[in-house]
Amino acid sequence: MAITNYESPMFEDVSIGDKLPELVKHPDTRQLVMYAGASQDFVAIHYDLNVAKEAGHPNVIIHGALKSAWLGELVTAWMGHQGRLLELDVSYRAIDFPGSPATCAGTVSDTRIEDEVGLVEIEIGLRNSEGEITTPGRALVSLPLRHASR
């Protein structure tokens, strides 16, 4: 788990190509059940092994929305308490299973100032233990400016 003090980077200190600290999750079936309850998503393929096997999977599958939540944590932990998450897009290209680590990673893809707000665009993705990005996405955040108006 990434250790963070949630101190926001200043917009001026962020450059295209910067990597966010990776966030590694170790999901188990228990977490899927907790997420099912907390999110009210009771689709059985996420906790009932028989249902998952009938659908042709070796194990229950991780909720796509739980993977979104981890990618949200990746970005919000990095942007800190003064950053704001404005946009989060995630697409579920491949299924992930509990029992092996999932790594969330991000790379800054653009920085710009619009209406005196420092905006940072980040390419994000969740990688399975084989190194395949199953869940790509993007995020847009605002970060504090060292010089609030210029």
Binding site: M34, I45, G72
Partner: protein, 167 residues
């Protein structure tokens, strides 16, 4: 091969098409502290702004907020008429969130879902129906706090999955 995959045939009937633009019945939720705590705990996010009032007060948020994807737990209501789901199985294709302001503990959020597009594709799982829906989350002051645009894919025949047609 199902008849729906023959050329010129479509699963998107006039009845299904009539759902494009139709709004779900609004549902209003109180954003409760314990629900937010349970959600933060379930996703495993230790950020104190979700659970620690004093820590949240020391930040620009001013008071505890919900994690960005907490909106996911605020289920939309049903449509004013029964949705004629043609398929049995469901896949979540993804979400696009737009956040305008914090979702705060104590807020009252009204949720409305609207289908904005329906289209089909033919692949190795046969015909698949893609549904693009926009869910709006409006607070007690009438301000649009966030939107979530979802892509839901349904396919296949047989016994219907739980929740198929509700997404």
């Amino acid at each position: 091969m199902t008849s729906s995959s023959l050329s010129g045939d479509t699963v998107i009937t006039e009845e299904l098409r009539s759902f494009i633009g139709l709004e779900s019945n609004p549902v209003t939720y109180d954003i409760e502290r314990h629900a937010v705590e349970r959600f933060a705990c379930a996703i495993g996010d230790p950020n104190p702004i979700y659970t620690d009032r004093e820590a949240a007060e020391r930040t620009t948020h001013g008071s505890p907020v919900a994690p960005p994807t907490f909106f996911r737990s605020l289920l939309p209501g049903s449509y004013p008429k029964p949705y004629p789901e043609p398929f049995a199985h469901i896949l979540d294709g993804g979400s696009k969130y737009r956040f305008n302001e914090d979702l705060k503990v104590g807020d009252q959020i009204t949720v409305v879902r609207k289908i904005i597009d329906l289209f089909e594709k033919h692949g190795r799982m046969g015909t698949m129906l893609f549904k693009i829906a926009e869910i709006s989350y409006t607070n007690q002051q009438g301000r649009l706090v966030a939107t979530q645009t979802t892509t839901t894919i349904t396919y296949g025949e047989g016994e219907k999955d739980d929740g198929v047609g509700d997404h």
